[in-house]
């Protein structure tokens, strides 16, 4: 049998690649791949074609001495260029957005200098209190505990949400910001948007299912005694997928806004 020449083999590979491209383009389009993904598949076909051409290429001429050194340096430059450019071709995010986010999250961070200042102020305040207490007459009797409407109002204030009037649109909007800031969408979808895998309950109707107190507990202390798994997420609950450190990260004000936002989802 006569061995086919390199060009004959290449021509045949080109024909196969074109046919393959047409099939892949048509099938991938029919089953719903977006156009960009289809182009990516075309890229694979081209890459595959080049690789198969290389497989049957003629043996390379040997190099030695200066020519070998030069060829190696050029080869390094080519790989370096390809790898570096490859990184630039993929979608890039704008670090300015993350910087803004970090600035928000850093609000609670205090420098040692600030800490010293705070401690000094506290010492001063405590000294004043000691002075006051040593000169003040006996304290009056404690005020009676609020009851009925007053108690409800007070409870509402603790959660940061006015009990009667309901949360303001501004508070709900801040809650959405908190939801985005802590990337709750990674596991808890709203309106179908979020992580591809079902990691946590969707929050589309959370406002109907939970009270403010329940939500607060579930976010700050997800594994507090008495807390049960949401139906369908028993495994995730058992594996403690929901982070248990938000009590150290999400402030009271942020929590009030977040709860107001989630409660508004009905």
């Amino acid at each position: 049998m006569v061995e086919r020449s390199f060009w004959q083999k290449t021509k045949w590979k080109l024909v196969v690649s074109v046919a393959l491209s047409l099939i892949i383009w048509t099938v991938s389009g029919l089953i719903g791949f977006p156009r960009l993904f289809q182009w990516m598949f075309m890229g694979y076909v081209i890459g595959g074609l080049l690789f198969f051409i290389l497989l049957d290429a003629r043996p390379m001429k040997e190099r030695s001495g200066g020519a070998a050194v030069l060829s190696v340096i050029i080869f390094y430059l080519i790989i370096s260029f390809v790898y570096t450019i490859n990184g630039a071709l993929w979608p890039q995010y704008n670090p300015a957005e993350e910087k803004e986010k970090i600035a928000k999250l850093m609000k609670s961070v205090v420098s040692p200098k600030q800490k010293i200042g705070e401690l000094e102020a506290k010492v001063e305040e405590l000294s004043k209190k000691v002075e006051e207490l040593s000169t003040r007459p006996a304290a009056p009797a404690a005020a009676p505990a609020p009851s009925g409407e007053a108690a409800k109002k007070a409870a509402g204030k603790v959660a940061g949400i006015p009990a009667k009037a309901g949360p303001s649109p501004e508070l709900i909007a801040s809650g959405k910001e908190v939801y985005d800031l802590y990337e709750c969408y990674n596991c808890h979808k709203i309106g179908g948007k979020g992580g591809v895998k079902r990691r946590g309950p969707e929050l589309d109707h959370a406002g109907k299912e939970f009270t403010a107190e329940q939500l607060k507990t579930r976010i700050w202390y997800p594994y507090a005694p008495g807390t049960k798994a949401t139906e369908g997420f028993e495994k995730e609950f058992e594996e403690q997928t929901m982070p248990d450190y938000y009590n150290e990260q999400i402030s009271k004000e942020e929590m009030a806004a977040l709860v107001a936002y989630v409660l508004s989802l009905k």
């Binding site: 790989i79 790898y83 961070v109 010293i116 401690l119």
Partner: protein, 485 residues
């Protein structure tokens, strides 16, 4: 009594305030380069001795002198690389103390017994055994068992050193919770410590194998005699074989490592795999795919010189098609968008529809990785079968194979430089995840383009130094011999 509280505050206030040094070229970038170059050398000096002892053992058992020569030549380069590792390690500490004093001081205090006692002792042990191993090579020529024992001891010291220093590294990613009450052992044995140990051990063997392939390619090109060419051709083959053999286990080790991130904190795992670092995995896919393709291409080139091996060509080609398809699956992202949520108006254009979303999940990726590994194994089996019936002539391989070996060496270095930064970025804006926030202006995740440029720069720095070490240890000697001969 209250004024007593002021005493420590005043004492603290009397200390001269020295802010971190600002180099003006980016403190993070300086630490990034120095630490990564140190890590690359460390990977080499840990990976190469594992490789070397295996070769020496095979040489002893088979009485094939080539193995002993290979082991000796790699050890010669390793001893030069060892000095450079120590040099960059010292440099790294100075840079860290000057540029990030607070967190460095915290880490040293947190791991004091490890970094101030255990690590230096192990390092001394490794130094003594490495140089003993090298200098007793000829003295104990007839006492191979004894020499091999020193080599095994060297590897034990090397592994223990790596395990020790992996403790603070992994701690920064996954510190035990609650941290305040955590013991030293809990800080060491954190969620990702053992997975990192395993990942780095296997990664270092791969690295050692591919760097050996690189050394072989350099020396093959520099060889004038046929016998030298035959030897370095064979050495390149062995380097590639060990590199690929270890590479087969690497995806599994990486999977275990990533899984521990999810177990520790699902949001950290998501950040690493699906959010701001998701596009970095596309590059990882390119690199892994390229490495497997190149490794198998080398087997193909090796088979081509075996008489009668042509009959296996269609099977190997079919294997390449499978590898290409698997790589395409590996690299198919959930969306072409650098963060988790795609803007609503772009979803249809940039995101996989829900019924195809499974392609972006781990089961699909794992299947692709498994098939790639399987094809690689089958290719080696075919090669072994071809050898049973055909004869191989070393030194007659297609010259392009040397560029394949160089490519594998370069790509493995670049991958380590790149993925090392991904591990670091997984901490987000923390020095110690969730506990010590990075308050410097450079706490954000750099863009993918910037990271790849940094990986290239680091690879070049390492490559120039390693090439120098190879030239110093081997090529200059070879040239001298050539002139004398």
């Amino acid at each position: 009594m209250i004024p007593l509280l002021l005493i420590p505050i005043l004492a603290y206030a009397q200390m001269p305030e020295l802010p971190p040094v600002e180099l003006g070229i980016g403190n993070r970038e300086v630490v990034w380069i120095v630490m990564q170059v140190h890590l690359l050398f460390a990977a080499f000096i840990l990976g190469a001795p594992i490789f070397v002892v295996i070769c020496e053992f095979i040489g002893m058992r088979t009485k094939d002198a080539r193995y002993d020569r290979l082991a000796k030549e790699v050890t010669k380069v390793t001893s030069i690389a060892y000095s450079l590792t120590a040099l960059f390690g010292g440099f790294a500490i100075l840079v860290l103390v000057g540029l990030y004093p607070e967190v460095t001081s915290y880490m040293i205090r947190r791991f004091f017994p490890v970094v101030a006692i255990i690590y230096p002792l192990l390092f001394i042990g490794e130094t003594v055994t490495l140089y003993s191993y090298w200098y007793t090579w000829d003295i104990w020529k007839e006492k191979k068992g004894r020499h091999l024992a020193v080599g095994i001891l060297l590897n034990l010291f090397g592994l223990a050193t790596m395990f020790a220093i992996n403790a603070p590294t992994s701690f920064m990613n996954t510190p035990p919770r609650p941290l305040a009450t955590a013991t030293l052992w809990q800080a060491i044995n954190n969620y990702t410590w053992m997975p990192l140990n395993l990942h780095r051990t296997v990664g270092n063997i791969t690295f050692g194998g591919f760097i050996t392939g690189l050394i072989a390619a350099y020396l093959y090109m520099a060889s004038k005699k046929d016998e030298d060419k035959a030897f370095y051709d064979w050495m390149g083959f062995v380097g590639n074989l060990i590199g690929i053999a270890a590479l087969i286990a690497l995806p599994l080790m990486g999977y275990i490592y990533a899984l521990e991130f999810y177990k520790y904190d699902a949001s950290a795992g998501l950040y690493l795999m699906s959010d701001r670092l998701s596009m970095h995995w596309e590059i990882n896919g390119v690199l892994t795919g390229a490495t497997f393709l190149a490794g198998n291409f080398y087997i193909w080139l090796s088979m081509k010189r075996v008489e009668g091996a042509n009959r296996f060509a269609p099977y190997v080609k079919a294997g390449f098609i499978i590898i290409l398809i698997c790589n395409a699956i590996w690299m198919t992202p959930r969306h072409f968008w650098p963060v988790m949520q795609v803007p609503e108006d772009l979803v249809a254009r940039l995101e996989l529809p829900p019924h195809l979303g499974f392609l972006a999940l781990m089961p699909a990726k794992n299947t692709a990785a498994f098939l790639t590994v399987l094809v690689t194994l089958i290719n080696y089996l075919l090669y072994r079968r071809a050898l049973k019936t055909g004869k191989i002539i070393w030194g007659r391989i297609d010259f392009i194979s040397q560029y394949v070996l160089i490519f594998l060496g370069f790509t493995s270095i670049w991958t380590m430089a790149f993925m090392g930064s991904v591990r670091s970025f997984a901490r987000k804006y923390f020095h110690v995840y969730l506990y010590i926030k990075d308050t410097t202006p450079e706490s954000y995740t750099p863009t993918l383009a910037f990271t790849t440029a940094m990986a290239t720069l680091i690879t070049w720095v390492f490559f120039i130094l390693v090439s120098f070490a190879i030239w110093l240890a081997l090529i200059s000697g070879m040239q001298k011999k050539g002139k004398e001969g």
